[in-house]
C-alpha cells in the first residue's frame, strides 16, 4: 500500500528514513516546512534524490554563480547556463551544443556499464536541446598504468565507452588519458558530447500549455540504479570496497540509437513543445524540472509508467535511473502522430501526465494522491551551502618544494635519453591501444581526431562549416595552485582548438574534486572556479554548462583537483583546418611564444623524479589570445601547413609527435639564449610550433612581428637528413648538434608502453 498524502496528514508522526536517503535533519525539517506536514514516502524519495549533491549542486552553487556573473559579452550564446546544455550560434543558421559529464563512481564499481551509461547520459542531454549528437570525447584518468586495479578498470571503461558510442554511431574525436596514483581507486570517467541543430530546432525542458500531455518514451522503467544518485554520488567508498553496493544500470545502446532517431523524427515534424532527458533522479527530476520551468503545474499518473518489473513500488519508480528514457510535452492534437513516429522506431511511449496551472506537481498511484508538492521546491529551491573553506595547511610547503634542485640532463646523450624516456612515459605515450577501440569515421564528417590537437567535425557538408573541440586539464598544476591550474587547463584547451584553425566560442567543464565537506578540498574547488571564471572573462568565451563531481577520493585522500575544461570553436570551412603533421621538404618550423625555466608539475618532474612541488607555469591569457589569433589567421590565409601546441613534455615532445605523425624528419636548432634542457622540456604556457611554407615566411613573420608575438625559426622539414646524420635510409629528428633520434626509435618507445602492460 502506497503512502498517500491523506496518510501523511492523518499520521504526521511516522518516522521516516530520511538519513538513509542521504538527507540531513535540517533538510528533512525544511521539507516538512515546505509541505506543512510530513512528506509521503514518495515525496521523500523525490526530495532526497533532487536535493542530493549530484542533482542540486548544493555545495557548488554559490561558486558556480561566477560563471554567469563574470560571463563575457557575446552574441554567440543562444541558450546559456542552467539548461540541459548551452547552445552556441556558429553562423548560417546553425547552432551547436556541447557538454561534459562525469560517471566516475559507477565506472569504478562496474567499469564497462558505468562508462557506457556515462556516454548514454550525456548524449541524451544533448538530444534534449533538440540537437543531433555528432561526436563524443572521453577525458579519462586512472591510477598508475602498472597498478593492478588499473588493469581491471581501464579495459572495461574503454570497452564500455567504445561499446556504447560505436553502437550509437557517434565518432569519438578526442579525449584524454592521464595516469596518476591519486586516481587509483577512483578513476575519472568524463564524457563529452557535441550536437548540432538549426536555430529553429532549439528546444527547452519546460512544460507549457495547460492541457498538454507529458509523454514518457524509450526503455521501460526497471529497478536499476535506484538511489544511484543519492547513494552513488554523495557517499564515498570505504577502504574495503564500496560501502553500499547499489545496483548499477546496464546500458542499451541500441535502444538509445532508436531513441535518437525517434526524437529527431518527432522534433523535426514539429510535434514537441518541451523535452527533457531522464538521467539522475529519473522521473522525479524530469517531471519536477519540466513543471518548474513551465506553467508551474503538472499532474502525473504514475501507474501508467511502463515497467520492466511489475513489483516496483511508486517510490522506486520515481527514483529509478533506468537508462534510455526521455520525456516530451506534446499538444493533444499531435499525440497520435507522436505515437506513430515512436512506433516506427519500435520505441514504446505512453502518456503519463498533463500540464495544468495548479502550481503543484501532483502524482497519483492507482487513484490515490501520493505526491502534492510545489515543483520549484523540488527542482530548484534545494538547499544551498556555503561550505567552510580553508587553504590547505600543506599548500605553502608544496609550493616551496620547487623542482630546481632535481638532477637535470647535462649533455646531448642525456637529453636524448630523456626524450626517449618521456615519449614513452604513460602520460605521453601513444593512446592508440585505447583510441583504436573507438570508431572515429562513422557519419563521414570527421576532419580531425586523435592524435590531433583538437577533434573537428563538419557540420554542413555543403559549406564546409565545422566545429572543433578539445578538453584538457593538468591536475598536478591544479594541485600546486588551483586558480592557476584551472586557467592553465582553459589555456591549453583554447590553444588546442586554435591550433586547428578554429575560433574559440564557448567553454564547458567537468569539475572533479574530493569531498566538499573537507574545507581544504572546498578551497581548491572555489579557487579553481574563480580561476576558470576569470579566465573565461579575459578570453571572451562564456561557460555554457558543465558538471561537478565531488567525493572523488580513496579513504580520506582526495584526487588531484581536476577541473577538466572543454573549449568549442568554429571554423567556416573545414578545408582550411591545420593538422599536426608537417608537409614536404623545405617547410619552415617556427616556435611561437616564450620559454621559461618552468618545471613544477611538469611531466619530466613527475615521470623522471616522481616530484610534485613549486609554482605551476605562469599564465598570460593576453598572450594566449594573441597566439590563438595568429594561428587562426595563419590557417585562414593559408600561411600554415601544420601547427601543434606545446604542453605536456614540452617542445621536444611536440616536435616528436609532429615527426611521428607525418613520418618525415626535420633538422632543428635551438635559440641560443636559453639552456637546451629548458628549451626542450619546460612546460611554459602560451607556445606552439607552426610550420610555414617558404613562400609564406615573410608574410607570417611580419604578422608576428607586427602583433608582438615572439617567433623563432627553429627548423626545417627534411626527409633526406638521415644519410648526413649517420642513419642512412631513415627519417630522423635532429636537434642542433645535441641529439639525433630516428622516427622509428621514437615510435617504438611511444607505442610500446600501453600494449606492454595492457596486453600482458
Amino acid at each position: 500500500m502506497a503512502d498517500t498524502v491523506d496518510n501523511a496528514i492523518a499520521g504526521p508522526e511516522a518516522t521516516q528514513p530520511f538519513a538513509e536517503l542521504g538527507l540531513k535533519p535540517d533538510e528533512y525539517q525544511r521539507i516538512r516546512d515546505i509541505l506543512g506536514r510530513r512528506p509521503t514516502s514518495s515525496e521523500l524519495a523525490m526530495y532526497s534524490v533532487m536535493w542530493s549533491e549530484h542533482c542540486s549542486y548544493k555545495s557548488s552553487k554559490v561558486h558556480l554563480r561566477q560563471f554567469g556573473e563574470k560571463a563575457p559579452k557575446t552574441d554567440a550564446l543562444l541558450v546559456g547556463i542552467g539548461e540541459n546544455a548551452g547552445v552556441v550560434d556558429i553562423g548560417d543558421g546553425w547552432a551547436v551544443t556541447f557538454k561534459v559529464e562525469s560517471h566516475n563512481h559507477p565506472s569504478y564499481v562496474e567499469p564497462y556499464q558505468g562508462a557506457a551509461t556515462g556516454v548514454g547520459g550525456i548524449v541524451r542531454d544533448i538530444m534534449s536541446m533538440g540537437a543531433r549528437p555528432i561526436a563524443v570525447m572521453d577525458p579519462l584518468r586512472f591510477g598508475p598504468l602498472d597498478a593492478a586495479d588499473t588493469k581491471r578498470v581501464l579495459p572495461g571503461i574503454v570497452a564500455g565507452i567504445g561499446g556504447y558510442g560505436n553502437c550509437l554511431g557517434l565518432p569519438n574525436i578526442g579525449g584524454e588519458v592521464v595516469f596518476d596514483s591519486s586516481y587509483a581507486g577512483n578513476p575519472l570517467v568524463n564524457a563529452l558530447c557535441v550536437g548540432a541543430m538549426r536555430h529553429e530546432d532549439i528546444h527547452l525542458a519546460s512544460a507549457k500549455g495547460v492541457g498538454n500531455l507529458v509523454i514518457l518514451y524509450g526503455a521501460r522503467t526497471g529497478g536499476d540504479g535506484i538511489g544511484g544518485v543519492s547513494v552513488l554520488a554523495s557517499e564515498t567508498f570505504s577502504d574495503g570496497g564500496p560501502t553500499k553496493r547499489p545496483s548499477v544500470q546496464v546500458g542499451d545502446p541500441f535502444m538509445e540509437k532508436l531513441l535518437i532517431e525517434a526524437t529527431l523524427d518527432v522534433l523535426g515534424a514539429g510535434l514537441v513543445e518541451g523535452i527533457q532527458d531522464l538521467g539522475g533522479a529519473g522521473i522525479s527530476c524530469a517531471t519536477s524540472e519540466l513543471a518548474s520551468n513551465g506553467d508551474g503545474g503538472m499532474h502525473v499518473w504514475l501507474d501508467r509508467v511502463l515497467l520492466r518489473d511489475r513489483s516496483l513500488s511508486p517510490e522506486e519508480i520515481l527514483m529509478s535511473e533506468s537508462q534510455e528514457r526521455m520525456c516530451a510535452v506534446v499538444t493533444p492534437a499531435k499525440l497520435e502522430e507522436f505515437l506513430a513516429k515512436c512506433a516506427k522506431w519500435d520505441v514504446e511511449a505512453v502518456v503519463i501526465g498533463e500540464v495544468n496551472d495548479s502550481g503543484r506537481l501532483t502524482v497519483d498511484w492507482h487513484g490515490e494522491r501520493i505526491v502534492d508538492v510545489p515543483p520549484r521546491s523540488v527542482a530548484h529551491d534545494g538547499p544551498v551551502y556555503q561550505r567552510p573553506l580553508h587553504r590547505p595547511s600543506w599548500q605553502d610547503a608544496l609550493q616551496a618544494d620547487t623542482p630546481d634542485d632535481l638532477l637535470r640532463p647535462v649533455d646531448g646523450e642525456q637529453l636524448r635519453a630523456t626524450a626517449l624516456n618521456l615519449i614513452g612515459a604513460p602520460n605521453l605515450a601513444s593512446k592508440a591501444w585505447i583510441t583504436d577501440q573507438y570508431d572515429r569515421y562513422v557519419q563521414g564528417n570527421t576532419i580531425l581526431a586523435q592524435p590531433e590537437d583538437a577533434g573537428m567535425v563538419r557540420v554542413d557538408e555543403q559549406t564546409g562549416l565545422g566545429v572543433a573541440v578539445s578538453c584538457d586539464c593538468n591536475g598536478r598544476f591544479a594541485k600546486l595552485d588551483p586558480y592557476t591550474g584551472a586557467q592553465l587547463a582553459l589555456a591549453e584547451s583554447y590553444r588546442n582548438v586554435s591550433a586547428s584553425g578554429a575560433i574559440p566560442l564557448a567553454v564547458t567543464n567537468c569539475l572533479n574534486f574530493g569531498s566538499p565537506e573537507d574545507p581544504e578540498v572546498m578551497w581548491q574547488f572555489a579557487e579553481a572556479v574563480r580561476g576558470l571564471a576569470d579566465g573565461c572573462l579575459e578570453l571572451g568565451i562564456p561557460v555554457t554548462g558543465g558538471n561537478v563531481s565531488f567525493y572523488n577520493q580513496t579513504g580520506t585522500t582526495a584526487i588531484l583537483p581536476t577541473p577538466v575544461v572543454g573549449v568549442l570553436a568554429v571554423i567556416d570551412d573545414v578545408d582550411r583546418r591545420t593538422p599536426i603533421s608537417w608537409g614536404p621538404d623545405g617547410e619552415l618550423i617556427y616556435l611561437l611564444g616564450d620559454t621559461r625555466d618552468e618545471f613544477a608539475g611538469s611531466e619530466w618532474a613527475h615521470h623522471v623524479h616522481g616530484h610534485l612541488g613549486g609554482m605551476p607555469p605562469r599564465v598570460d591569457l593576453a598572450r594566449e589570445r594573441l597566439l590563438s589569433e595568429i594561428m587562426i589567421a595563419g590557417s585562414r590565409d593559408g600561411m600554415l601547413t601544420a601547427a601543434h601546441d606545446i604542453s605536456d613534455g614540452g617542445l621536444m615532445i611536440t616536435l616528436s609527435e609532429m615527426a611521428m605523425h607525418s613520418g618525415i624528419g626535420a633538422r632543428c636548432w635551438l635559440p641560443d639564449d636559453i639552456d637546451p634542457f629548458v628549451q626542450l622540456f619546460a612546460e611554459s604556457a602560451g607556445r606552439a610550433v607552426v610550420v610555414v611554407p617558404r613562400s609564406e615566411e615573410l608574410r607570417f613573420t611580419e604578422m608576428c612581428a607586427a602583433r608582438g608575438l615572439p617567433a623563432h625559426r627553429i627548423g626545417v622539414v627534411d626527409s633526406e637528413l638521415g644519410a648526413d646524420a649517420g642513419y642512412p635510409g631513415q627519417q630522423v629528428l635532429q636537434i642542433s648538434d645535441l641529439l639525433t633520434v630516428t622516427i622509428d626509435e621514437l615510435r617504438a618507445a611511444h607505442t610500446a608502453t600501453l600494449p606492454a602492460i595492457l596486453n600482458a
Binding site: E110, G222, D224, R245, S247, V248, V250, G251, D252, D309
Partner: protein, 83 residues
Amino acid sequence: MARVVVDVMLKPEILDPQGRAVQGALGRLGLTGVADVRLGKQFIITIDGDVAGERLEQLHALAAELLSNPVIENYVLRVEADA
C-alpha cells in the same frame, strides 16, 4: 580430468538488452507465448585432477570475482562427471 560449468546470468533486476532483442526476434519469427528471455554466459572449464575441497573453493572465488561481476551478475557453478 573434471568439467566445471559456470553459468553467469545478469541479476533479475538488471536490464538485459540482449535477452530483449532475442525475445523480439523470436516473436517476429512466430513463436508465441514467450514471457521472458535472458541471455547469459556459460564457461566450460576442463581441469586436470580432482575438483573438491580447497580447489573447489578457489573455483568459487574465481567465478564470483573474475567470471562474473557480483554487482550485476549471479553465477551457478557445477562440477560435472569427469570429462
